[in-house]
Symmetry: C2
Subunit: 675 residues, 2 copies
């Protein structure tokens, strides 16, 4: 409780260091090239002048920590200090804020005030001379020290010592006060003292905070999900990966950055699901790619119907040629036919009668799936095998992994696995497919996932969109969770899309692509496919999960042109490649959602106005922060990057009108009419 | 960064434990008899049922920690769990939240769902039998263990063992499933399993959080500040403490709980200040009590003009008879005549010419004050001496200490001093007189001060009062900072009082006494004294700090009757003795401030409506949360505890009208018309 000996009389307190995730327990996230702004509250008793520095060190993946580097922090106001650093490489950056009482600056400040008030400062000048002289002495490195220090350092010290000693003498000399005050207050002395003066007791922030730095793709990218087997003309025979590669140019042409494939592994036959998730499959039904494993192999094999590992590598190579990166699905579950079932039955849960337990969500049963038992006594072997599986694909060039249902496996497993893989392959990005309780989704992000699925799919109204993205981007959540906004998935066809038809797909596309630096669609979205398996269900009719779907990409209903346009705008405008600079803007219409994004340097604003009503034309006025954006009230241009039209706007509120089907949204670039 | 061995496969995570001050770095505050509600976010992978307990232990001042006690926590919703404990004694309570996967409850839950769905549960019953049997085995204490355990514990274990073993057998028997399901789901089994089942891996909250428990006076009290020397009929001769005791009945009659005295020590003569802070004092000017120390003694002496230590003890004894507690001023600074100056010159700062530095706030000089140098090389001796001074008064019965300018002394000093004093005298309450930057004021509270002065004196408008008290009472600040709302002090006569006259004093009195569980006034307030030394100054004309003020307490202007009434209401209504249950209520008039306070049990609401306009009558409607307060919309009484009048109110908005001078505010008790 209390110690009977007084503590060391520290005077400075460093608090509320930001960024911070759970008091330093987890790292914050950034990508290479980003600048990290660090803030801290720094206080002390009395009225002395304080000094503070930011100490940063970088640890490259798998390497030893580099040296600590110091940079000055500056006082903003009200005891808030700020500093920053650039993260130039992947790995981990650690940072600490250090602060102390700056004796010389405090003295200088007092001298200034007293002299300005016309007071006699003879005594103060002697004090100053004393402070400077002591600093000079401290610079005299004893032989032992000098040997350790570099010659340059020693020379610099020696030079500094002489200069300061002379200045100390000058301050104490009996020259006229005005002259000596001039010498006392000049900047050269201030900067030399800042560099050389002993700091006395230094207070540092506890604990050390960290930033985990990823490559840029972790921060921004447009994802396209496709079932390669459907890239065929013949519904009775699925395409191989080599054949599916022919579909890549179409995807690349739409401007996507990532093509994401469901599991490509052999599919079990026991209890295989038929079309529309029926329990009785015909021999020729392809089955669900998530029922992984058969006599033909498990998680490190390629389904014969998709070809061979070479076909996969061909597909991946073709994608890279087209500027596309391939993301694979990691689903740690097994079909009853998976090799593990016979080779390692101890990795599964068993019933009293010895049979292996299939997946259940009582009263629902999933007899085609055997969950792995992460708590088996043999967990170390199981975990190592799963790590081997991930490394198998990573070593073959896959660096984007979409993880299926991570929330049904222990946090400790993911924390370990992700750290293990990234120590050797730091460019690996794990996307968490956790559609579960908010705190669980957030924790998965904290412990290592670079990206996370979100509730975006279910946020369709103005109020809920505003509230949700304010929480994601304008609170500390933005420090550790990067949402990847999927407009649809093979499991989620939202009612908004089912009812709204093509205009709804346009709205959701624009929202996903402009609200999220990372976003994605699942193929069929561009064709506005919106028929549910049954009313009230979010499952697709004739879901591609259980059967092959051959599509006519040339169907005139396609919104591919809009997608292509939006992806081009995303590539051209840094504002859309970052999430933390989102701002919502007032409109006087409950169906008109207005928001802007800006580049990290605070410029390049884009103003989005979206009509959430997919049936009726909506119009109203939108607020524009012309002062902060340096726009002349007298007039400026609003250029719609989608239509190419230019509107002449004035003042801080302007009129917009949007017609479903004809024009879902504005993506506006605002600039002075003089440009 | 990452460890190559998997961590232990923990599954449960405990986060966001509240109350919390800086991640457990500082204790939260409560007073004896309060119930502490603890909240935590508890999550795990998958869908298992979790269990959580709150572990609490008490450490009496200066004693060893007591044993940890466990109590269950309950799930509120969305992974938020809650529990609580009563703090029954002073000292420190530590608490930890522990959670784990409840195997039996998870199994029971699944069984329920499957059985309800009409599924065959034979296998599930065998699993349950196994879980119960294992628990029975775990209860069999090996001889070695039994020796350590108590006989009672052993007996209980044995009994439990048998009961559980029988039940396990019954679950596995081949009786009809319905009967066995009945045995599986019955509550007796559930509660025995909750008590005896092995918990498996338990996750606990880190770090251990703490609550510092004070006596009730730290939480609530009405303070009255007075200069004892002014309790005289003869301005040329100040009263002694013995004479000043005659003024105590008047103060007690107003219903105050504390009488607070400025420093009672000998006052220096060098550079003594004259009336109105003039630099030239006449020999018979009494000087400022804060210029402490003369040939007659220092901080442990009583000013001869105030009498002797016995006179102080007489004054204190008389106060106690009247139900008043005495608070003393601790001002760690010295006059040039203080004994320390000659006995321990090393405790002060010196100029190059060897003279001691007086206090300065450039360009201002305070030649009558020598600050102590808390950073002197001799600081351990200085700190110990100051501790001796505090203990000198504490040992003479003073348990309330108002600390002058703590923000000009090191945080480390206060943290140490307060802990030291309270280890032996835990009923000591330190009030921080820090009118400085917000973060500094807050940190002083975090490191140990039981009460703090606040900005209340400068918050006079509706918006600023609402914002400020929302910050103080509705954020985590309420966990560690207890404001003591002084309506005036010898240093602060706010412009609102200067201009508003008597009605302004009524308004500020009601605000201070009903917004603050702790509040105070400085004598003269009841007489609406409001003349500043000069326009724009907050200093009093003829300030009592520099001269004796003889007052006519019978002046008809006195608002003593209102003060008496308000203090009586404070004593009668627990709602006004707590700060954390404050709520502001909407009014449709910018001059009408409405707020309520409630008792910890959520009852005993009082609704305050204050007219901040001291010139004009204001009227409007105020919102009443009739549903939460269980008031019938059809009609209820609003009884004004000040005027005794009853208004018949209906619905959730009602009319109020307040006239400055005639009626400054309502303090309303609302109750159904049927009562």
């Amino acid at each position: 409780m209390s110690n009977s000996k007084p503590e060391h009389p520290y005077r400075v307190v460093v608090e509320q260091v930001r960024p911070d995730v759970n008091w330093g327990r987890h790292p914050a996230k950034r990508t290479v090239g980003e600048r990290v702004t660090v803030e801290a509250d720094i206080i002390a008793d009395g009225h002395d002048t304080l000094a503070a520095v930011l100490r940063v060190r970088h640890t490259a993946p798998g390497a030893r920590p580099g040296p600590w580097q110091e940079s000055p922090m500056t006082l903003v106001n009200n005891d808030l200090w700020t500093g920053g650093f650039l993260v130039e490489a992947m790995g981990r950056y650690e940072y600490v804020v250090a602060a102390w009482v700056d004796r010389f600056a405090s003295w200088r400040h007092e001298l200034e005030k007293k002299y300005a008030a016309g007071q006699d400062v003879a005594s103060e000048l002697l004090e100053g001379a004393h402070i400077v002289a002591r600093t000079a002495e401290a610079l005299a490195p004893p032989a032992s020290k000098r040997r350790r220090g570099t010659d340059a350092g020693a020379a610099d010290a020696a030079g500094g010592r002489t200069w300061l000693a002379d200045r100390a003498a000058a301050l104490a000399a009996d020259a006229p006060q005005p002259d000596r005050v001039g010498l006392a207050l000049d900047d050269e002395l201030a900067s030399r003292m800042a560099r050389h003066a002993p700091r006395g007791p230094v207070s540092t922030s506890e604990p050390v905070r960290a930033i985990e730095v990823d490559r840029e793709r972790a921060r921004t990218g447009a994802w396209y999900e496709m079932f390669p087997r459907s890239a065929t003309r013949d519904p009775s025979r699925g395409a191989t990966l080599r054949e599916a590669a022919d579909d890549l140019p179409r995807i690349a042409a739409m401007g996507f950055d990532v093509v994401y494939l469901p599991p490509v592994h052999p599919i079990g036959t026991s209890f295989r699901k038929g079309p529309n998730n029926t329990l009785s499959a015909n021999p020729d039904d392809p089955g669900s790619p998530w029922a992984i494993g058969s006599a033909e192999g498990g998680h490190d094999a390629v389904h014969p119907e998709l070809g061979t590992i070479d076909d996969f590598l061909f597909f991946q190579a073709r994608a890279h040629e087209l500027g596309l990166e391939v993301a694979l699905d990691i689903a740690f579950q097994c079909s009853p036919d998976h090799p593990y079932v016979s080779s390692n039955p101890e990795w599964f849960r068993h019933r009293p009668d010895g049979t292996i337990k299939y997946a259940e969500n009582p009263p629902k049963k999933y007899q085609d799936i055997y969950p792995l038992d992460f708590e088996t006594d043999a967990w170390p072997a199981l975990w190592d095998e799963l790590k081997r599986v991930v490394l198998f694909w990573v070593e073959r060039g896959v660096r984007l992994l979409r993880v299926d249902n991570p929330h049904t496996k222990p946090f400790a497993f993911w924390k370990w696995l992700i750290a293990e893989v990234r120590r050797e392959y730091p460019d690996t990005v794990f996307l968490s497919e956790a559609f579960t309780r908010p705190k669980v989704m957030k924790h998965l992000a904290k412990i290592g996932f670079q990206q996370s699925y979100s509730y975006f799919t279910w946020r369709t109204g103005k109020a809920e969109l505003t509230e949700y993205f304010t929480e994601l981007y304008r609170t500390d959540v933005v420090e550790y969770l990067r949402p990847n906004l999927f407009a649809n998935t093979p499991d989620i066809l939202h009612e908004y899309l089912q009812r709204g038809g093509r205009p709804a797909f346009e709205v959701r596309l624009v929202l996903a692509a402009t609200l999220g630096a990372n976003y994605g669609i699942y193929s069929g979205f561009e064709l506005a496919e919106n028929r549910p398996v049954r009313p009230g269900s979010e499952e697709y009719l004739d879901s591609e999960k259980y059967q092959i779907r051959v599509r006519d990409w040339h169907d005139p209903v396609s919104i591919a042109p809009l997608i292509t346009q939006v992806n081009a705008i995303r590539h051209e405008h840094p504002a859309l490649q970052h999430d933390r600079f989102l701002e919502f803007h007032d409109t006087d219409n409950g169906q008109l959602l207005a928001y802007s994004k800006s580049a990290p340097d605070g410029t390049g604003h884009l103003l989005m106005v979206v009509n959430l009503d997919v049936v009726n034309m909506q119009h109203g006025t939108v607020a524009v922060p012309i002062d902060r954006w340096n726009l002349p009230a007298a007039g400026y241009w609003a250029e719609d990057l989608l239509s190419g039209e230019r509107y002449f706007w004035q003042g801080d509120r302007n009129y917009v009108r949007l017609d479903p089907g004809f024009r879902a949204a504005h993506i506006l670039r605002l600039f002075p009419a003089t440009e």
